[in-house]
Symmetry: C2
Subunit: 244 residues, 2 copies
Amino acid sequence: MKSPFNLYPERNALESTRCEFCAVRVVAVCATLAPEELRRLGEISQGRTVEAGQLIFGEGEPSDALYNVTAGAVKLYKLLPDGRRQITGFLGAGDFLGLALAETNVYSAEAVVTSTLCRFPRSRLEALFARMPRLQGRLFAVTSDALADALELMLLLGRKSAREKICSFLLTLSGRAIGRGAPDNPVPLPMSRVDIADFLGLTTETVSRTFTQLKTAGVITLLDGNRVLIADPTVLADIAEGGG
Amino acid sequence: MKSPFNLYPERNALESTRCEFCAVRVVAVCATLAPEELRRLGEISQGRTVEAGQLIFGEGEPSDALYNVTAGAVKLYKLLPDGRRQITGFLGAGDFLGLALAETNVYSAEAVVTSTLCRFPRSRLEALFARMPRLQGRLFAVTSDALADALELMLLLGRKSAREKICSFLLTLSGRAIGRGAPDNPVPLPMSRVDIADFLGLTTETVSRTFTQLKTAGVITLLDGNRVLIADPTVLADIAEGGG
DNA sequence: CGAGCGATTGAACGCTCTCAAAGTGAGTGG
DNA sequence: CCACTCACTTTGAGAGCGTTCAATCGCTCG
C-alpha cells in the first residue's frame, strides 16, 4: 500500500537490522553513538512491520520491548473505562517508542499507517546501558524532550481554544517534518479527524468545523492526500499563541 | 511561618547539605545511592529557602541548577502571552525539580508555601554523571515517572469533566501523600483555588462549585487548614474514572 | 453501481466560562 | 479588643464555545 507518509519506501527495516545503514540513524536515538556501539545495538535489534490500525502494544501490558519508528506514523493513547480516549502523541520516522520506561506500558501504541519499526528487547537494551553510558544518556535526553513536549501539550489541552489547538497542532507537525528532513509545507496529515480530535481534546465535528473556518479565513488550504498548505506560518503562530 | 504543609519543620536544609542526613533522602533521587556517592552529592549541593509566592526560576531562562524539594510545596507552570496559565505539576517534599532537562527552562517554578530546596548546580551535577552512572540512571527513572504523570494529566485535561478532574486531583494528592509517608486522609491542599483551576484546566468558580457539589453529595468534607476529608476513596475513584 | 466509512455541515443543547456580588477569614492598625 | 482592609472563596445569573445528535456529502472499494 503506497502512502505519502511512508518517507523511506525504498528502504525496509526488515531487510537489515544493521544500525550503521539505518535510514533514520541521523535523527534517531542512535544519532550520537560510535560505530562500535551501533554494531552492538544492531545485534539486539530486529525489524518489524505493522499494518495501519494494528496494535503495537497495549496499556497495562508488561513492557518487553522498545522501538524506533523507521517509517510511517504511530499514535500513542490512553483510554478511560467508558471508551473516551486521549492520544498523547504521534510518532514519525526517527522517533523513539516506549518511553516513560516502566514495568508496564502506560499507554497503547497503534500504527496510524503501515509502518516499520526497529525493535529492541527491553532487557537486552538495559543490559547495554552499563557498557554504553552514552546510550542511556541519549535515551535520557530523548525522554526529557518527550517530557517537554508533554508539558507543552498540557498547556494546549488545558488553556487553548479549538482554533488555537488546531493551529498549534499544524505548526508542531510542520516543525517535526523539518527536523526529519521532510517537506514542512504542505504538511501531511496521516491521521484521521477522530485521531486529531482525541489528540487535541475536541470532537471530530469541532476539528472539521475549525479546519473549514481556517480555510475560509485563508489561513490554510486543504490539498489532496490529506495535506494542509499553510499560507503563512507566522499567522498560524499568532493564532496558536492567542494573538489571532 | 507555621504551616501544616511543612512536613519537616524540625529540620532545615540550610543547616546542613550533607545528603546522608537529609530528611527526604529515602524518597528523593538519592534514594538508591551508595554512602560514598551521597557524600559527593553533598559536596555540590546547597540549601535554599524560598518564601511563599517567590519565583524559583522562570520559563525561558538558562537552566543553571536542579533542585530537590526538601520541605513545602512548589508549583510548575507555563504561560501564554495573554496571561493564561497552565500549572503542569505540584511538587512536595522529596520531589525533584528541574526535569525536562534542557538548556533553558521549559516552565517556571514558584513556591506555593514557604519551602526549602536542595540546590545542585547543573554543570557540576552533569559532571558527576560520568563517575556515578547510578545517579544518571536514577534521574532517568525519575524523568520517566514525570513523563508518565504528564501523560496521565493529558488524559485528565483532554477528556475528563470538571467533576472527574477534581476527584482525580484529590486522589492523586492523597496517593502522593502516602508515598511521602504523610497522612493521606484528610488531604492537605496548600494551593489556592486559582492554582487548582490552572492545574485542571478550569476556572476558580468551577473548582469552587464542584467542591461544594461533592461536599453536598457527601463524598468529601472541607476541614479547616485547607484540608479535605475523603469519605470513601473508592467512591472518589469511581467518579474520577467516569463511573460516578 | 451500491455499500460503507470518514468528513462535513446543520441545529439545538449543555457544561463550563464570564461577569457580578456577597461571604469569609487572616492580618493590621487604632 | 475591635473595626477595617484586602485577598480569597463562594454563590448567582446569563452567555458562549464546544458538544451532541442527526443528516448529507464524498471517496474508496468490492
